[in-house]
């Protein structure tokens, strides 16, 4: 095995890994505050892909301008969805499992909806950066991937700053730690939940645009694959833990890309799932979570 391939795997692992971190962050903000595991996250992402795609194809809008636009639009939709879906759900016998199932329904709706609107064709964002690739050492890395890495790192940085250094972010983290206590302190949990849902959706929008830059193609069927990647990432990092998601994303990205270096293409997903199941049994609450079993 040549060192070149391994190096290539490492670089791609980090680029893809940071993207996965964003997927995980979104899922964990939502799970942390609302105890909702977003089964529809993959579809959210693909909608994000189409968002950037349509803006570019019809209005010629630069993908990097689509990023903040996606963030705002998706935030608003998520904020609204929270008020629409959450109040009844929180009264269910088992809110966690119910919400998981409900988001599966949303995922089917979005997947089918996209198929009806955009049909089953595979799409490619036909946008080229100049130069098309950059030479780093012995490797040529596509500029689009580097730009995506930079944007993703920026978003991760902003999210961390928001969660740890702003009042609202601290309230969100407090809600993740103890949902009951924060209501006693007089925080409006419904609005906070809506903000969390908005942030999760906004992150999905950004990630969606980034996916169309990092990966060569996307189609309406791809949603569940990304959802599963997200699940693996948050289980590795610990459910409901934003920082855990960042670490989990990078670990999984590296594992997956290195697996494609050493193993046949078809076997690579098995490695990812095996890592997840290993983590579940060795540290049931993930790398950053507390252990609790029944």
């Amino acid at each position: 095995m040549s060192g070149f391939l391994i190096l290539n795997g490492l670089v791609n692992g980090i680029i893809v890994g940071v993207l996965y971190s964003l997927i995980g962050c979104s899922l964990n903000v939502l799970y942390g505050v609302l105890r909702v595991v977003n089964f529809a996250h993959g579809e959210f992402l693909i909608v994000g892909c189409f968002f950037g795609y349509v803006l570019f194809e019809t209005f010629g809008i630069h993908p990097l301008i689509s990023v903040p636009l996606a963030a705002v639009v998706f935030f608003a939709v998520g904020y609204g969805l929270s008020y629409l879906l959450m109040p009844r759900l929180s009264k269910a016998d088992d809110p966690e499992t119910s919400s998981f199932l409900m988001m599966y329904g949303v995922s089917l709706m979005l997947g089918a909806g996209m198929l009806m609107i955009f049909e089953a064709d595979t799409r490619t964002l036909d946008f080229r950066f100049e130069p098309i690739s950059v030479k780093i050492g012995v490797l040529y890395v596509p500029t689009a991937r580097l730009v995506a890495l930079a944007v993703n790192l920026l978003v991760v940085g902003l999210l961390t700053w928001f969660l740890y250094f702003t009042l609202y972010g601290k309230a969100l983290r407090a809600a993740i730690m103890n949902r009951e206590a924060i209501q006693v302190v007089g925080v409006n949990i419904h609005r906070l939940s809506a903000v969390a849902f908005g942030i999760a959706a906004g992150l999905a929008g950004i990630t969606g645009v980034m996916i169309s830059l990092v990966f060569p193609a996307f189609d309406p069927f791809a949603g569940p694959d990304y959802t599963l990647i997200g699940f693996i990432v948050i289980v590795i990092g610990g459910l409901g833990h934003p920082i855990g998601a960042i670490v989990g994303g990078v670990i999984f990205g590296l594992t997956e890309q290195m697996a494609t270096v050493f193993l046949p293409q078809a076997m690579a997903p098995i490695v990812g799932f095996s890592v997840m199941i290993l983590v579940i049994f060795l540290r049931p609450r993930g790398l950053f979570g507390k252990v609790q079993q029944r």
Binding site: V37, L85, R88, L89, A92, D93, D94, E96, T97, S98, S99, F100, L101, M102, Y104, G105, V106, S107, L108, M109, L110, G111, A112, G113, L115, M116, P224, L228, F231, I232, V235, L239, A266, M267, P269, I270, F273, S274, M276, I277, I280, F281, P284, Q292, Q293, R294
Partner: protein, 320 residues
């Protein structure tokens, strides 16, 4: 209290009479379908979904787990049957029970996951189902037929497989009926409601939930096998289709998890609706299935039968 005991017996007699009467009527009706040239595929799949939803009810409605990879049992049953019948020439009447046992074996392999809490269990179960599919897809073509799957050749016998499906459905329904009134069933419900408290009351939680898990795995594997026999072909794409899990959950939930009649009613209504108009628009079908899930969870989380019982608690004593 003597009077109460007597009326109690009468209530039980009414309840059992209604339920077994319904079962008998259904059996006679279904058994006559092939002879009278009824819509064989419709009733075959109706029975298949009643079986799937009822078996799912054992681990979900009674025990409180949400196995999102439930399709794994179905898929393993389909492939076991196909490989045994086609590649090894085992008579199909032997391969089917073996397929059921293969499902039970798989459930034992996954038994450790029962320790996991709600959402972790659901995610792990989903991941395991995908792993099983990937492993079968990547097995040598001589065994599993690779991505093309296995054709059972001239072995399709729709009428015979129809009757075997009927028998399997009855077995599943009688199992659930027994369970609902048995001590094991009571232990399972206690585990569902509060597993720690159940343990403190002296219930052997790991043992009880393992039994439920195994029972719940046997029937979908049988279904997978019988369907393979019925359609004559098996491939990983359809045998491990996530939608099989989705439909099972939705049908069971629509009727009411944790009740015997709920999943039956849910499956009948949904399969009927499916046949009536959804099937003509495959895309819309998926969309409507998704919508049905969201609306159910929002407005009727306990399903039709469950909601009726919640509204009129007295019904609980008359409906299984």
């Amino acid at each position: 209290m003597a009077i109460s005991a007597a009326s109690e017996e009468r209530v039980a007699a009414i309840r059992n009479g209604m339920w077994y009467g319904l079962l008998l009527a259904l059996t006679v009706w279904f058994a006559l379908i092939p002879a009278f040239g009824g819509n064989l595929p419709f009733f075959f799949y109706l029975m298949l979904w009643v079986t799937m939803a009822s078996a799912f009810n054992i681990i979900s409605g009674f025990t409180g787990y949400m196995p999102f990879g439930y399709v794994a049992f179905y898929g393993i049953g389909a492939f076991t049957t196909a490989i045994l019948t086609k590649k090894l020439g085992v008579p199909v009447y032997f391969s089917l029970p073996i397929a059921g046992l293969a499902g039970v074996a798989l459930s034992l392999l996954f038994a450790k996951t029962l320790k996991l809490n709600g959402i972790y269990f659901a995610i792990t179960s989903l991941a395991l189902a995908i792993i099983v599919r990937l492993v079968i897809t990547n097995m040598p073509e001589e065994i599993t037929g690779g991505s093309f799957g296995i054709s059972l050749g001239s072995r399709a016998e729709p009428v015979k497989s129809f009757y075997v499906m009927l028998g399997t459905m009855l077995a599943a329904l009688l199992t659930v009926t027994w369970l609902a009134r048995s001590r094991l069933g009571m232990a399972l419900k206690a585990i569902r409601d509060d597993s720690e408290a159940a343990e403190a009351m002296g219930i052997n939680v790991p043992r009880a939930r393992l039994k439920a898990w195994m029972m719940s795995a046997f029937f979908p594997s049988m279904c997978g096998g019988i369907e393979a026999w019925y359609t004559n072909v098996v491939d990983t794409g359809t045998a491990f289709d996530v939608l099989i899990t989705a439909k099972t959950i939705i049908y069971a939930m629509a009727g009411g998890l944790g009740t015997v009649t709920g999943p039956v009613l849910g499956a009948v209504i949904m399969v009927w609706l499916d046949d009536l108009f959804w099937q003509r628009f495959p895309l819309l079908n998926l969309f409507l299935l998704g919508t049905a899930i969201v609306l159910l969870i929002q407005f009727m989380p306990r399903g039709i039968v469950g909601s009726l019982m919640q509204r009129w608690p007295k019904l609980r004593r008359y409906i299984m």
